[in-house]
Amino acid sequence: MNNVIEVEHLKKTYGSFTAVDDVSFHVEEGEVFGLLGPNGAGKTTSIECIQALRHSFTGDVSVLGLDPRKDARELRKYIGSQLQESALPNRMKVWEALDLFASFAPNALDWELLLKQWGLAEKRNSSFGGLSGGQQQRLFIALALVNDPKIVFLDEMTQGLDPAARRVAWDLVRAVRDKGKTVVMVTHFMDEAENLCDRLAIVNKGRIVATDSPQGLINSYATQIKVLFSTDEPDLSYLEQIPSVNSVNRYGSHVEILGTGPILPLVAAALVENGITPSDLRVDQPTLEDVFLILTRDVEPAEINQ
């Protein structure tokens, strides 16, 4: 696999505040790579440096073999950007925006097609200011694709989209990837990262705390497995004797067992041996959310919830 992006020791400071602190990662050609982290973690700043939108940073960044600090304009021909906190003039019409941005690019795609793909065909003659948040967002993604880029950067792409539109957006990201493009996305939505990303980096306080595939991260960090069932049997102390079980918690008739390794069959065997056969015995697999909470635990709860 070719690396289309290589970032080594990227550091960006604003006065005494370090927004990005020694970040290193690479992105392979054709993959969907995600930066997942709480707000203010430095995700956006990192990809803005890579997209040549910020210049005064230290470290080595190479995108398609180009240095964003030296070859900014050349680089922009090959990347597509959907940015946070950007806008179009309120009185600019949807078709005018696509037509204008297509004229900036040497190999522009047929923007009429993008208009249809992103469900904007009937908004063609509407002004930007009259679009809903979701429609504006879809227009921005269409604009990021109009120059037929090799790498597409999506910064909080589904912000402001309703659940149905989010699913549509996910399908379109997969379609973009299937055309051989590389996608770099910033998100704070767990489900989005888990569903879309081939690999992802979890960012916290300006640093990358882990990089792997979603399943790889779960396997390495969320090692606790949860086994659940209900019973009114008072004595379950024998379950604590099972070597891989860490704790047994009871909430009324609900029992929750935390452990590592193959605890489900061990727990089941012990229960049967003691004459208990609960019909709702099940296991909760850890999710990316568990990994995220473990790795970003020191953050204020209010920030995680956003």
């Binding site: 939108l53 906190e85 806008a87 009185r91 037509d99 941005f101 004229s103 900036f104 120059n147």
Partner: protein, 250 residues
């Protein structure tokens, strides 16, 4: 080239869709034309023994000045407000992330200025000729050259203000202040002949004063004014260099 033309065309359409700037650039100079025309007419006049309006009819002198006023409205008000609000709202961020260059952005502003100023000037002149019997320009070619230099210069000043001012509110306030100061002290309002020395000194620091005189000289047959041309061109070059140096996209 295609990029620049598209950008200019879209910017021109956006300009026309913005009622406040249209009022400022088109309606205000026409209002002045008729108000001043009704008050002063167009025959040579003496004010208390002082020869005013360069010894000519008031409207002969004011008409070229009002063409300068159109340029001032665009340069001091509409371009600075436009660029600062683009920066504030993130439009410039969005534009920069495509491969548009600073020069394409600047040039598109210049092309819009040219088109709008030309159209407004033609309307102004078409009204001034029959209503106040304004004399025809002595040298059309020199007038066109003066017109072009002046438009470039005021556009550059507008871009400079757009580059330096932090917010669109600041651009509105400072733009209006400068516009009315220049209107009053450049000779486009009270004639320079009746101004006190301090008023003249302040007026001399203002680009509209020199643009007015440059346009008047070619129109009224005073010939090509190299000194005024030098000052107007200097404003233009200086503003362009500083604007390019300090322009920020976000």
């Amino acid at each position: 080239m295609n990029t620049l033309l598209k950008m200019s065309w879209v910017e021109l359409k956006l300009f026309i869709r913005e009622p406040i700037t249209m009022f400022f650039t088109l309606v205000l100079p026409i209002m002045f034309l008729f108000v001043m025309g009704e008050v002063f007419g167009n025959s040579p006049d003496n004010q208390g023994g002082i020869e005013v309006y360069r010894g000519m009819g008031a409207m002969n002198v004011y008409t070229p000045s009002y063409i300068g006023l159109v340029m001032a409205a665009i340069g001091l008000f509409s371009i600075p407000v436009h660029l600062t609000s683009y920066r504030e709202r993130g439009v410039l961020r969005r534009l920069r992330a495509s491969s548009i260059s600073t020069w394409t952005l600047f040039s598109s502003q210049l092309i819009v200025s040219f088109v709008v100023t030309s159209v407004c000037s033609i309307i102004l002149v078409i009204l001034a000729f029959p209503v106040y019997d304004v004399i025809t320009p002595e040298s059309i070619i020199l007038l066109i050259v003066a017109f072009m230099i002046s438009t470039i210069s005021f556009t550059a000043i507008g871009i400079l203000m757009g580059a330096l001012l932090p917010t669109s509110r600041a651009a509105q306030g400072i733009g209006l202040l400068l516009f009315f100061l220049m209107l009053m002290l450049s000779g486009a309002g009270p004639p320079r002949e009746v101004m006190s020395d301090p008023m003249k000194y302040i007026g001399d620091a203002m680009p509209l004063t020199h643009i007015s005189i440059l346009l008047q000289d070619t129109w009224l047959g005073f010939g090509w004014n190299w000194a005024r041309f030098g000052i107007v061109a200097g404003f233009g070059v200086g503003a362009t260099v500083i604007a390019y140096r300090f322009f920020r996209w976000d």
